[in-house]
């Protein structure tokens, strides 16, 4: 092995190959350096722009209540109508169409105030001797109706109040949240129709006044 003579031509070729390799390595370095300087960098400050609009919106998931046609039973002095799921007609032959009361949901993305009012009194709505027109505000989802301190309302909920066109009969929530887990309330009604009530198509309108907070 050591005695073999190295061809000068092969030595020349090897030197040329090493030189070309070094030149290529330099070109790759320069190219990569240029490329990296163009496609990479260090971000020192960034900004994103996203606007979410505020929306105040409520939905009466149940918007009307009716008992259809009917009358007070002949052997009764009055009939009692409620919006409960069972025993919702006593002393009459009406049929409740949708049990569960009026249901109101905050489907916006801001908290709102909710004020409920009626347009009539028991006398102007039902008439007769000792008519009853009452309503009751309750949570469908816990903590849906809060006072201004964000605590559960205690004074205008979970009790029957006389519904009247005067503001004294109103029901309200100082804060009606939009959180999807606590944004639904219901209003039930308790109506007593005396045998000498008004006749024909009776009706009243419940207005939900809502204002963004």
């Amino acid at each position: 092995m050591g005695d073999e003579k190295v061809s000068p031509f092969l030595v020349f070729i090897a030197v040329i190959a090493v030189a070309v390799s070094l030149f290529s390595l330099g070109l790759i370095y320069l190219s990569a350096n240029t490329l990296f300087s163009q496609i990479s960098g260090r971000v020192t400050n960034g900004e994103t722009n996203l606007t979410v609009n505020t929306q105040t919106e409520i939905n009466f998931t149940t918007r009307a209540i009716g008992w259809g046609n009917g009358r007070v039973n002949q052997d009764a002095n009055s009939a009692s109508l409620t919006t409960f799921a069972t025993n919702n007609v006593t002393g009459g032959n009406w049929t409740l169409t949708t049990a569960g009361g009026l249901r109101i949901e905050n489907i916006g993305n801001v908290n709102v105030t909710l004020n409920l009012s009626v347009a009539k009194t028991a006398v102007t709505f039902i008439g007769g001797t000792s008519p009853v027109y009452q309503w009751n505000l309750t949570n469908v989802e816990a903590a849906s109706c809060l006072n201004s301190s964000q605590q559960n309302m205690s004074d205008r909920m979970n009790s029957w109040f006389t519904a009247t066109s005067a503001n004294t009969g109103n029901l309200w929530c100082d804060v009606f949240p939009f959180n999807s887990a606590k944004d639904t309330v219901r209003v039930d009604f308790n109506i007593t129709v005396p045998e000498n009530s008004l006749t024909g198509a009776l009706g009243d309108i419940i207005t939900a006044t809502v204002t963004a907070l």
Partner: protein, 423 residues
Amino acid sequence: MKKKYLFFMSQVLPETTAFRLWSTSITRNLCYLTNFCATKSKDFVCIQKTSVNQTPHFSVNWHIVFLIILFCSFTVSASLGISPAKEEIDFTPGAVHTFNFIVSSDDPNKKIKIYFDGDLAEYAVSNVEDIVGSGEVIVTLTLPNSIDPPGDHALYFRAIESPPEGEFLGSRIDIGAFVKVFVPYPGHYALLYMDFPDGNVGEIINVGLAVYNKGTQPLNLRRSKVEIYSSQTFVKTLDLPDIDLSFAGGYNHRYSFNSSELLPGEYFSIASVETPEVWQTNGTFRIGSLFMNITYFTTNISGNSIQPFFINVQNLWNNDAKDVYANVNITNSSGQSVAYMRTPSVNFAKWEQKVIQGFIDPTGLKGNYTATVELNYLGKTTIVSGQFFVKSINYLLYSIIAFALALLLLALYYFFIKRRPRK
């Protein structure tokens, strides 16, 4: 088939809900529609009547029934909304502002009236007074030259549905968005909001101090600083740069500091700026460390059956801690282990206090022992120990007492009732 169905309805149900549904506009008879949909049995009852009184040549077109149910699903609910819900501007005398409100409802035929409320209602006009369904309303607010008193004033932009017709108890929505107009206070008036978040020892904490000029004069904020106190003891001052705020302007100071200078615990911070009047706000923050404190554990149980063992733990780390569990070892006066338990693993949110519960079997134990609670979390351990008392229930004693009471009641019955002389 539809004509046949309608003919049947008109013959059999001339005064009922279904006929009115088909003979009049659906949108004007939501009550009847709702009645019909909600009590499909009513329809069925009517059909049964026909089979008695008339020749029953009726068959249900299920496509129509489906459409009726579909209509019902649209009409049992009603929504009304306004976007944006609120706008805020600063008062400038005589300025004219324009706002675009989108009123939306789920009923394209719903009649909606637009009106204004609030103490600035007289200065607002809209391009329309009524819309049907949904639409955009352009509101122009022309502010007067002065508004008293200074502070917040409001313009409420409201939309109210027209009253429903033909319903026993119908509903409508009156919804409002608002434009808040802030009237600046005379002279210098700075409003400060500080954001001093909790952190852990050694972390960089970003403190925010926003200053708003709510007065009529420019503010030159000098000697702005945040002072940190621990239990009334001054700890550190964060100095903030001088800023000049023009009328209605605002600036948000951001300051980062390394909390390694602070010990774990609760701190009180006071932010102040001079204009040259001094304006301040304050708050509290916590510096946490990787430590979970055992604040209480059960020290007294009865020894006749397996009993719950409670450990109150507070996470003093400003991060969540997962898989936290405790080993409880009961030892006697000789140091020998007489009972042992391990609690299930629970997760803690940052700074959360929680009770960990396990069950221990004290069978055969009675008297004083030593309980050692070893709390394991995130590779660390907190160990506390204390006296542990096991009381035994003496069933024999309770039985004797119960027996004696029964005898006493029997004796009373015999002497006062049984032996009462008869009249």
